[in-house]
Symmetry: C2
Subunit: 209 residues, 2 copies
């Protein structure tokens, strides 16, 4: 009666569902120990069926990283698009990044896990190129922020870029550890406020609680 009927779904959509399943599972367990059986169970399939859609597990991971890179960068770009001020852009990017992670807690864990691994997988290459792209975009933004006078002239641009990314990573880490993504959304603006104060020109009194 309550026996779930296995649905027939076209291959491409099934691949998308697989990616979502992995990200979902990564939200509550170590990405490296997600088994193909667990993925299959989560999407109500048998384990063997997965290999009709992916040649091997690495290919699944590659697809997941691709999804993360594409969606994260798109979201950040969209957030910054209509803002002219460099610091305004940076704030929008920061908050958009946090919002994305709050929506998909498994995403950063896949990223970290893949980037830390010793093995040089296709997924790792994707992750690395995304990080490079991200860092480059940031450096440009900081440079133009100094040029237009929003940021301090004596600001260490490289350190500021490192801190921007590091702040996000640290915030994400702490929230994932606490198992509370709402905390992340709540903390993000307050923490960015301090960061902004650290890089801004002295005169600008960006008020804060």
């Amino acid at each position: 009666m309550t026996k779930t009927k296995p649905k027939k779904i076209p291959a491409e959509e099934r691949r998308n569902i697989t990616v979502e399943a992995v990200i979902d599972l990564a939200g509550s367990s170590n990405p490296d120990s997600i088994t193909t059986a667990a993925i299959a169970k989560h999407m109500k399939l048998t384990q063997g069926a997965i290999f009709r859609h992916f040649p091997n597990k690495d290919a699944i991971w590659k697809a997941v990283m691709n999804w993360v890179a594409k969606n994260l960068m798109a979201r950040i770009d969209r957030a910054a698009k209509d803002i002219t001020s460099p610091t305004g852009k940076m704030e929008a990017m920061f908050l958009a990044h946090i919002a994305f992670v709050a929506d998909h807690p498994g995403a950063p864990r896949m990223l970290f896990g893949e980037l830390q691994g010793a093995r040089q997988t296709p997924a790792k290459r994707l992750a690395q190129s995304m990080m490079k792209q991200y860092a480059a975009r940031l450096r440009d933004m900081i440079t133009s922020g100094k040029e237009c006078g929003e940021l301090r002239d004596n600001l260490d641009a490289e350190a500021a870029a490192t801190l921007f990314i590091g702040t996000i990573q640290g915030l994400v880490m702490q929230s994932l550890i606490a198992g509370d993504v709402d905390k992340m959304r709540a903390d993000a603006p307050r923490v960015f406020g301090i960061y902004l104060h650290g890089i801004s020109r002295a005169g600008d009194a960006e008020e804060q609680e």
Copy 2:
């Protein structure tokens, strides 16, 4: 001739060696996928021998977390001990923490790995209590920093504490990803400079490059 003779080593020292072996291995591979066989090989023992000294794998992980908590906190305390100024203490803690991680890259990976896991292991409890202790110490320091006028009155103390820890975590993450611990040592003072600028009273002109 050159055949390595299996040495007999007293149980307690053998347990210490095991902990070091795990932290060593965690420096270059995912902690979650460190096998007992790999640990044994690294310390030139057979796999089964490990279970003469630990009842199970969880007990090994617990011993490792204990080592990390004890050594990290001791190092931070020692660094801050002889400094009176709150911001001075914070800087010393920051740099001591980074130095510890640079010496033992496997340590933070064990920490993160354990804190992220869904399973409530003895190791996880240890890690959580250490983080609580750390955060509490920080909050006190920030509060007294505001009282003595080094820090802004309108500073969001909780956000500042979150950012302090987050900055370290982010810095560590990026260096581990890059596989370059020297980068971490080099970046730390510059990044802390920006953080300090973010929390300090406006008047204080902490010079920076």
